[in-house]
Each structure stands twice: as structure tokens, then as C-alpha cells.
Amino acid sequence: MTVLLERTRAEGCLSDLRLDQLVRDELAGEATATARAHLAGCAICRDALARIEECRVQFSEGLAGVRVAPSVRPPRRRRAWIAAGGGLLAAAAALLLVGPLRIPTVPWRSKGQGHLHLYVARSNTVRPSASGDVVAPGDRLQFTYTLAQERFFALLERDGRGAVNVFFPDGASAALLSPGVNVSLPRSTILDDVLGEERLYGLFCQQAVTLQPLRDALSAGRVPSAPDCETEAFLLEKRRP
């Protein structure tokens, strides 16, 4: 146990906090000089500083590289959907799509084809969501995705009554998405009054799979899947607030 709770840096070494403060010029002059002098003679702290700097650069690159919209053909407008760029709640829209809280790049995980992120907007707040979350009628769902390579994508839903909807795309087969980090799907959706279990399935596919078999599978209570597709599921509980 003493091995478990063990510090690896020697007495007098610089903590991550001190290194963060150093690279942001938050230390007083004397403290800066002391820290730099220590760094000059300590390989462990230089390595720690290099890792901090690497994360900083990756984060900055991510901010510059975030794309707001994927390259997909604009879908037909459907009543329950709202164009993502125009309808999100005032305080939150910019945060999720174009504003200061765009989510930065993190090093891409090679495992897996794509990754979905879900956000729920209610009143004046937007929060990240995940399976197990409780939502309510009227909540607005916004998905974003992260992709390292082009993939075809579809998003299907099965509501508490077992009705199946294709949230994305409008066509008969999966739509091609361009690579990007936390790219917003072009539409959000407002949850209707049907309470109960809300199942959402995003499929990242190597080919433009036909959606009808996926709908059929979901209608039958199975997880929609197809060859060369990776399925990501969200299970939400819809209740009245």
C-alpha cells in the first residue's frame, strides 16, 4: 500500500500546479526564477512540463480545428426537428455550436470508428448527457460526433411505446459524414410526450447501409446493426419533471 500511495517526484520537485502556473506566467519573479533553475537540473520535471505543454498545444489545435457542421446534404425539415444553427436556446446555442464552449480536440482514440456525444437542453441550460440520464418531454437533444475518417452514419430512436423513428438522415440509407471533432449533427430534436424508455442508436458504417432493415430490427426490439457498422447506444428514461 505504501507503494500505491507514493509520490514519484523528489522533494523540491515542481508539482503540476506549479508547472501550470509557470507556463501561464502566474508565478512571481522569484518563484519563476527558482522554478526555471530547478527545471534546468531536473529531467523528471522537464518531462512533466513537456507533457503539460503537449496537452496545451493539442487543446489549442483542437480549438482552431473544430468544425461546426458536417458535409452532408441538407436534409428535409421535419416538424419535430430544429435546425441546429438557428434554434438552440439563446444562452446555450453558441456554446454547443459556434461559441466559446466548443469542445476541443483530444487525442484521437484509434479504437473504434466514431463516437457520439449527447447534450440535453432544457430552459436556459444545456448539459452533457449519457446513458441512464433522465429526460423530460420538451427537452431538446443535440448530438455531436467525433470521427477520424469519413463514415456513413444513421441515428435511430425507439420510444417508450415501441415506435421507431430515424432521426438522421432523411434518406433511405445512411449519410456520409466528414471527419471532425465534436461536430454537431445538423438538427436537434424536441422530445415528445411519450414517456418511458428512450433508446437511441447511432451507427457508424463503412458503407451506405439501407435504413429499413435497421428500423425493422429496432421495431422488433433488437439492437440495429449491420456488417461493417459500429453501433453506439444511449438509453434514456423519459419522465415528467
Binding site: L17, C55, F59, A91, P104, R127, N182
Partner: protein, 159 residues
């Protein structure tokens, strides 16, 4: 700190990497870390006066990130997901520390809140007791006491 969005945007751009990196170390995966990042800045946006201007913004972000992540780790659903998640955060630290941090992470959910916080600062961030005292807002002596208590508890858990 003025509450306008431009200032918070600037903080996000300048300090977001600190939050993301530390959240990844504490939570152990990118998805939860990104959610913590988003949540923290959403919270700051809705209540900018959380940061009172006392101490550095980096210290405040350390504290806010730690509380947020520890709360998430205590959430049973998050705990389950963390247990199943591929541990990806440890690429941010030297390999010698990675296994140890992963083990410490498992303990965080079990320790009392005040001890878990100090364990993060002392063993993950490798802060000095003086630095911890400044971030937590207590005496150095209190920090030393909390570290000892944490060590004793961990020994009991593993025994």
C-alpha cells in the same frame, strides 16, 4: 471576474487544457473528461462569481475540476462506466505513474470527500502540502493530518 461570455471564453481557451488534462487523469477516460470540461465551464457561465479573484485562476480551476470529478466518480453510474471504460488518460503521465494513478482512482470513490480531494492533489498532482493548503483553504498542518488519515484508511482498505 466580470461575467461576460468573452472573458469566460478567454479563460476556456487559455486554461481549458488544464481542466481537460486533470479531468482525464482523475476520471481515466476522454469522454468523462470532456463532459467535466463542458460542465465546469457551463457552471462558470451561469455563475461567473464562483471565481472570486482570490488566488490564481489556475488554483481555482484545480479545485473546481477536482470537486466535479470526485462527485462524478461517486455517482454509481459513472463508477460503473469508469470501471468498464478503456483507461486512456494515463498517456498524459509517465508510465511509472500510470498504474499507480489508476489504482488511486479506484480508491477515490471510497474515501471521504475531504480525504479524496487531498489524495488527488498530493499523489496525482504531486503538490506540496503548502500548495494543497492554499488550494483547499486550510492550514498546512491540517493537510498533513488529512494525508495521514488517507494513508491509514487506504492501508485498512487493502489489508
Amino acid at each position: 471576474m466580470a461575467g461576460d461570455r468573452a472573458q469566460i471564453d478567454e479563460i476556456y481557451r487559455r486554461y481549458g487544457d488544464v481542466v481537460l488534462r486533470r479531468a482525464r487523469q482523475i476520471m481515466g477516460n476522454d469522454q468523462d473528461a470532456r463532459e467535466a470540461l463542458q460542465q465546469l465551464f457551463m457552471s462558470l457561465l451561469s455563475d461567473p462569481n464562483q471565481f472570486t479573484g482570490r488566488g490564481s485562476i489556475t488554483s481555482w480551476l484545480y479545485s473546481a475540476t477536482t470537486h466535479l470529478c470526485l462527485n462524478a466518480i461517486r455517482n454509481s453510474k459513472t463508477r460503473l462506466r469508469l470501471a468498464e471504460a478503456q483507461v486512456s488518460a494515463d498517456r498524459d503521465v509517465e508510465p511509472a505513474r500510470a498504474d499507480r494513478i489508476a489504482q488511486v482512482r479506484q480508491l477515490l470513490a471510497l474515501l471521504p470527500a475531504e480525504l479524496a480531494e487531498v489524495v488527488v492533489y498530493y499523489y496525482v498532482d504531486e503538490m506540496t502540502q503548502d500548495e494543497i493548503a492554499a488550494v483547499v483553504g486550510c492550514s498546512r498542518r491540517q493537510v498533513g493530518y488529512l494525508i495521514e488519515r488517507a494513508q491509514d484508511l487506504v492501508k485498512e482498505m487493502v489489508a
